[in-house]
């Protein structure tokens, strides 16, 4: 079921290095360049960024974890990680709705949920469809609704994607779907550090 890999999804990994919308890039540069954003979390809260880890190098990958996204749950619902480990996540949306896989803290997810709500209100996100062309729309202040941060992917039904992630810290992390209502009804999983 690799057919669904949109160029968009592949791009997600690249955009971080190869340039996103101007304002976002500036914001990224204002921080340490090695530090990743929570998807769409353009508001700051700099303190917790580093704890979630960084985009990893494919060469450092020690194992692949497959995550299935159903309606509305993950399989598996918890993963075990060693501090410092680089993992390849292979993410498959087996459901009939749009789902997200996002690595972050509970607070980051809460902030991102508001942004995702905005995406729904603006018609960028439909229940089973992502209007990716609308994501580039300038929302004012140079902000866009692009969902292009390396710690997350947003997938339509049947789409798949990969994330290579290095867990630099043994922080309290969750992987979560921040599509409105999904996290609140339990679509999240726990990251345990060994």
């Amino acid at each position: 079921m690799e057919t669904g890999i949109g160029t968009e999804n592949m791009k997600i990994k690249r955009t971080f290095l190869s340039g996103v919308a101007g304002a976002t890039l500036t914001a990224v540069l204002a921080l340490s360049s090695a530090i990743a954003f929570a998807a769409g979390n353009h508001h700051g809260s700099h303190g917790e960024k580093s704890v979630i880890g960084i985009s990893g190098n494919a060469a450092d990958v020690t194992r692949t974890i497959e995550i299935k996204m159903g309606d509305n749950f993950y399989e598996p619902e918890e993963i075990s990680i060693k501090k410092g480990e680089t993992v390849r996540f292979k993410i498959i949306n087996t459901g009939e709705f749009v789902h997200e896989f996002n690595i972050g803290t509970a607070a980051m997810h809460a902030a991102h949920q508001e942004e995702m709500m905005m995406m729904v209100e603006h018609g960028v996100l439909e229940v089973d469809k992502i209007n990716r062309d609308m994501m580039k729309m300038d929302m004012g202040n140079g902000k866009t609704m692009e969902h292009n941060d390396p710690n997350s992917v947003l997938l339509e039904p049947k789409e798949t994607a990969e994330i290579v992630w290095k867990f630099t810290d043994d922080a309290e992390l969750e992987f979560a779907c921040n599509v409105p209502g999904h996290y609140a009804s339990g679509m999240m999983g726990e990251v345990h550090f060994e």
């Binding site: 159903g70 309606d71 509305n72 749950f73 619902e77 009939e96 709705f97 229940v127 409105p180 209502g181 999904h182 609140a184 009804s185 339990g186 679509m187 999240m188």
Partner: protein, 569 residues
């Protein structure tokens, strides 16, 4: 004669069931229920009522999807009884409506219900005989899904709302028939009259009162039976039912409204509620601050208290004459503040179906049912001056399930999000979406003064059954021509509520139709036999807002032959 008929029904049913049984199915549970006279203590008063297994509410029946249940019911009353499994899809002989599904259960007799459980979610059961339901004859049903639940929760609680009245159902009905406003304590007073005169002028105020008088209606006609004590799981506000949790747990609250007459606006100050199911069926989760729980409806919500403190589950009655209260707390005995009820709504001309600002949108063909003779006396030039005080608040959010300018549009006490029917979208649609084969118009009608409630102007005892064909998809058009909200309940088949979401339209068992509105629902006619279809406000149902549905055709084993019809009638 009756015995042998029942036996043949049982055999017929068993044959039908065995066809439906899947090879993997092996669960079978037996449950016993006794129907008893019980004492109900609300904290405000004690009364004799009816319950199950010695209690009201009765037990929570926990089934599993795929299970074949056998429920032995023993009638310990000195009158006939019945149990209807509200929202369950089952053979009509097991549906528990006297004179439609079966003859009823006589005093001292037993009846064995047997049916397969082919769904999951939160439901309830109640007597369908006389006024036993308002007298306490209800319980709840929780069905665990066969596959994994799409939502995650650590605990679940049934939260069953009821409106326990000091008077017996029989007495209430007698009083309503004598005087329809017998229990309406919120009538506008002489003081209101003078304050309106100051505000609106004498002529406008007199015209206002006369217009409403001509319609035999009052702006306070929101709850026609007041003076009850709302209970949650059998506990009054002071008795305070408490559900325990540990901080950060996800708690699924299965809200059930088993009230005879009362809608509740439910909130939990300090917690968002994520609605995950409506009338037993999963919906795409939507997070709200407050929701209106119509009579006979169920909503499942997930809440996640993060702090080590108590939260109040608060349910203000729609007319704001009373409230239900319970608590979620980490430990027994902890309480949280009980909020003030927000202001009582007043009906507006929009709730009369007379929204003059929106006449273009009105279906004039529906106006036939109106009493034009009494309308002639109305001074339309003065109607603009009416009820502006109520209408200001209505500008915030449009809810298409209320008339434009309705006084009943709910707003969340905290100013946040209030659930609308328009937010309900099926998580997994039960049926393929398709065009309805035909439309049936059902005007919800009544004569308030005589306390007659009817459909298309005809009350049940004078009406022919509605005949549906097995396999068709019928679109029901509900036109509410009364000033009261009617929760319409179709037995045996789902009502797919048209919220404009196409294939995601949610399937419900009870459709609440607000005054002055037209609401559509569609039904895939997939259950042979005969069924009840009625307003679930107990006293409206008994006053005639009721129809028998007859489904023609369908699988042989379940269909009726003419001689059986004769017995059932």
């Amino acid at each position: 004669m009756r015995k042998s008929f029942m036996q043949s029904l049982q055999i017929g049913f068993m044959a039908a069931a065995s066809i439906a049984i899947l090879p993997s199915m092996s669960v079978a549970g037996t449950y016993d229920l006794t129907v008893d006279r019980v004492i109900i203590d609300t904290g405000d008063f004690q009364k004799e009522g009816i319950g199950y297994n010695g209690k009201s509410p009765g037990p929570v029946l926990r089934f599993k999807e795929g299970e074949d249940v056998t429920i032995n019911v023993t009638n310990n009353l000195d009158e006939s009884t019945s149990i209807h499994w509200h929202g369950l899809i089952l053979p009509f002989q097991m549906d528990g409506v006297p004179k439609i599904s079966f003859p009823g259960i006589e005093p001292g007799e037993n009846f064995t219900y047997k049916f397969p459980i082919i769904q999951s979610g939160t439901y309830w059961f109640h007597s369908h005989s006389g006024f036993q339901e308002p007298d306490g004859a209800y319980g709840s049903i929780v069905i665990e899904p066969e596959k994994r639940d799409p939502f995650r929760f650590d605990k679940d609680y049934v939260v069953q709302f009821t409106d326990t009245h000091p008077h017996s159902g029989k007495r209430i009905f007698r009083n309503l028939k004598m005087s329809a406003d017998y229990y309406n304590r919120q009538q506008q007073t002489l003081g209101d009259f003078f304050s309106d005169v100051r505000k609106n002028g004498l002529k406008a105020t007199i015209d206002d009162r006369m217009a409403w008088g001509d319609m035999r209606m009052m702006k306070t006609d929101i709850e026609d039976v007041q003076g009850f004590t709302p209970l949650i799981n059998g506990k009054g506000p002071e008795q305070n039912w408490t559900g325990l949790f540990e901080p950060k747990e996800r708690i699924r609250l299965r809200l059930v409204n088993s009230s005879a007459m009362t809608y509740f606006d439910v909130c939990i100050p300090g917690l968002k509620m994520t609605v995950v199911a409506a009338d037993g069926n999963n919906v795409q989760p939507v997070t709200v601050d407050e929701l209106r729980l119509g009579v006979a409806e169920t909503y499942d919500v997930i809440v996640r208290p993060m702090d080590d403190k108590a939260y109040t589950i608060f349910g203000a009655s729609m007319g704001r004459t009373a409230y239900a209260r319970a608590t979620l707390a980490p430990r027994e005995g902890m309480v949280a503040e009980i909020p003030e009820m927000t202001k009582a709504p007043l009906l507006t001309m929009a709730d009369m179906g007379m929204d003059h600002g929106n006449m273009a949108g009105m279906d004039h063909s529906n106006m036939k049912g109106m009493d034009h003779s009494s309308m002639k006396g109305m001074d339309h030039s003065n109607m603009k001056g009416m009820d502006h005080s109520n209408m200001k608040g209505m500008e915030q959010e449009k809810d298409s399930f209320y008339a434009n300018g309705s006084g009943l549009v709910p707003t969340a006490a905290n100013g946040g999000k209030f659930l609308s029917y328009a937010d309900l979208k099926a998580q997994k649609p039960l049926y393929e979406d398709r065009e309805a084969t035909r439309e049936i118009e059902l005007r919800l009608t009544g004569n308030m003064e005589r306390y007659i409630w009817s459909i298309n102007g005809v009350k049940y005892e004078d009406a022919d059954p509605i005949v549906l064909q097995y396999g068709e998809r019928v679109r029901f058009k509900f036109v509410n021509e009364t000033m009261m909200t009617h929760p319409m309940h179709l037995h045996g088949m789902w009502s797919i509520l048209d919220v404009g979401a196409g294939k995601w339209d949610p399937a419900k068992h009870t459709i609440s139709v607000a005054p002055g509105t037209t609401v559509y629902s569609e039904t895939e006619v997939d259950a042979p036999g005969q069924w009840a279809f009625h307003c679930h406000l107990s006293f409206h149902m008994d006053a005639g807002m009721f129809r028998k549905i007859f489904v023609e055709g369908g699988p042989k084993s379940a269909s009726l032959n003419p001689s059986e019809q004769g017995v059932l009638q």
